[in-house]
């Protein structure tokens, strides 16, 4: 179950999209999320969908892999679609079968909203699939750098994020170990009422927290003796490299927005 879930996972590769600077990708996805709301008719929604599929193609992500991994989210999208079919009662009546009445506007709205949702999920998934978490962190740190002026601790936030990412597998292993240790002592996590099961998690969480705090203390000491004194005067080992292709991505985005504005029905 968890292995199949690809939302938020990184798959290394060497496509055009993989090689982009994380800054241009982040910027693009962020602006794309806003631009999606420009769409208001069939032409614009179709354009968004085609554009997204094109990006998937360029990123060389297999469609099967992508949709298989997004199954739980697809379920949500289909659910939204059905809700619109059933509950929106505008426009011409399309189907009138016993108690089920489906109207034209319901179908239209349902499809639009589903495409909007699908496109947003796909784009953000492409971002995380093609960009390593550490690159995303680096990109965020650089993009948010101007906010240092208003005293936002950008460097500290980025460091917190990268340390959390680095410790996820460590803590997963730890959880597994504690789980096995508690199972060996006869604790039962898989049966009983909800209340009992929640209670059974406590002996799992307490040792996990204790060890996490111990790790945090050790890590803080290790960082201090290696000369960590906050972001001031620090150099960076990871260098970001904005290239022509990154500028192209931004131009492509502007073209997309222009096309959306031109095609939209207006209000």
């Amino acid at each position: 179950m968890l292995e199949k879930m690809i939302f938020g996972r990184y798959v290394p590769g060497n496509s055009f999209v993989h090689r982009l600077d994380p800054r241009s990708k982040l910027l693009f996805v962020f602006l794309f999320i806003i631009a999606v709301f420009l769409a208001d008719n069939t032409a614009t929604y179709a354009l968004l969908l085609v554009f997204t599929l094109l990006v998937i193609f360029i990123a060389r992500i297999r469609l099967y892999f992508l949709f298989n991994g997004l199954k739980p989210i697809l379920f949500l999208i289909i659910f939204t679609l059905l809700m619109h079919f059933i509950f929106t009662k505008e426009g011409a009546l399309l189907i009138d079968w016993k108690f089920l009445k489906i109207y034209e506007e319901g179908v239209r709205q349902g499809i639009y909203i589903s495409i909007r949702f699908l496109v947003l999920v796909l784009m953000t998934t492409i971002l995380t699939l093609t960009t390593s978490p550490i690159s995303i962190t680096d990109g965020m740190e650089t993009l948010l750098n101007p906010l240092k002026r208003i005293k936002l601790p950008v460097h500290e936030l980025a460091l917190m994020m990268s340390i959390s990412l680095r410790f996820i597998p460590t803590l997963m292993d730890e959880t597994d170990k504690i789980l096995k240790a508690q199972l060996a002592r006869g604790s039962d996590l898989t049966s009983g009422t909800v209340k009992e099961r929640i209670r059974a998690v406590v002996p799992l969480l307490v040792p996990l927290f204790v060890s996490a705090f111990k790790r945090a203390e050790d890590l803080a000491i290790a960082m201090e003796v290696r000369g960590y004194r906050g972001g001031e005067g620090r150099t960076r080992y990871r260098q970001l490299d904005w290239q022509l292709r990154d500028t192209l991505v931004i131009i492509l985005f502007l073209l997309l927005v222009a096309a959306l504005i031109w095609l939209r029905g207006g209000n």
């Binding site: 460590t170 050790d218 890590l219 290696r226 000369g227």
Partner: protein
């Protein structure tokens, strides 16, 4: 010989749980010279880890002076001195800061403001010194304990330190990982003449040292060459330290009335003594 580090009548106490004070380090004196390998041994709670914290300025002594590179350690020169000392701690996971091997090695360099152009060769060079150059982009959870500790050593070496402190760096490793780490440090020491202080309760590791300091109950109990220290087998065992296998066997053989001469540090020495002993009769 140039002095690298010295402790001059150093004492330090922790507040214990019942509110009283417990002396963790009690009037300790010693000097470490350039190029030496010093082993500090002692049982848990003997104060040896507190010594490491005093050397690197995580704690300051209540009494006495800690001098590093002939300067007395204080708040002002702390960071400068730390940049010349590498330290590797016990838990391989809890000191791995970067998300990949190369990020972790570069961490101290970044902190000390080394320019990017200089960082790259230094990262590669120090990883090569610990035989980990093929692991640049590996993530820590794909490495063994011994490999992680070698990365930690590389991280320390990247700053080109004059002193390397190993604070129980091998105690959480399996025998293979332990051998890897010891071998790397031994090689470094021979090639670069780095000064090493290894704090350990593994007496096998002690055999490689030039000089051994035995700590017990916060006090310096014995000091000398490994052979001299192991001659006091009873004393070591009485404070809860295990002798190396060869030394223990040699003592037991002598107690059993088998006429063998001298102390034996390694299995090879003992085997050589045993198979020739018949001719000496």
């Amino acid at each position: 010989m140039k002095e690298i580090l010295s402790l001059d009548h150093v004492s330090y106490s922790y507040e214990s749980e019942d509110g009283g004070m417990r002396r963790a380090v009690d009037d300790v004196n010693f000097t470490v010279n350039d190029g030496e390998w010093i082993a500090i041994v002692g049982h848990n709670g003997s104060g040896k880890s507190t010594l490491a914290k005093l050397m690197i300025g995580l704690l300051f002594p209540e009494e006495g002076k800690v001098k590093v590179f002939l300067e007395e350690l204080n708040e002002d020169n702390l960071w400068e001195i730390r940049s010349d000392i590498g330290i590797v701690f016990q838990n391989p996971d809890n000191q791995f800061v970067g998300s990949t091997v190369q990020d972790d090695v570069a961490f101290a360099l970044e902190n000390n403001g080394i320019p990017f152009e200089e960082m790259v060769p230094r990262v590669h060079e120090s990883l090569a010194q610990v035989n980990m150059e093929g692991f640049l982009d590996h993530e820590p959870h794909h490495l063994s304990g011994g490999q992680k500790q070698r990365v930690a050593i590389a991280g320390a070496l990247a700053m080109r330190p004059r002193l390397l402190i190993l604070d129980e760096a091998t105690s959480m490793l399996d025998p293979q990982g332990r051998d890897e780490v010891i071998q790397v440090v031994d090689e470094l020491k021979r090639k670069t003449g780095l000064t090493v202080i290894s704090i350990t309760h593994d007496l096998e590791e002690v055999l490689l040292a030039d000089r051994v300091i035995v700590m017990n109950d916060g006090k310096l109990m014995l000091t000398g060459k490994p052979e001299e220290i192991f001659a006091h087998g009873d004393k070591l065992e009485s404070i809860g330290l295990d002798l190396p296998f060869a030394a223990r066997l040699s003592r037991l053989l002598r107690q059993a009335g088998i006429g063998i001469q001298g102390e034996h540090m390694t299995e090879e020495e003992l085997v050589n003594e045993l198979w020739t002993s018949h001719f000496n009769k």
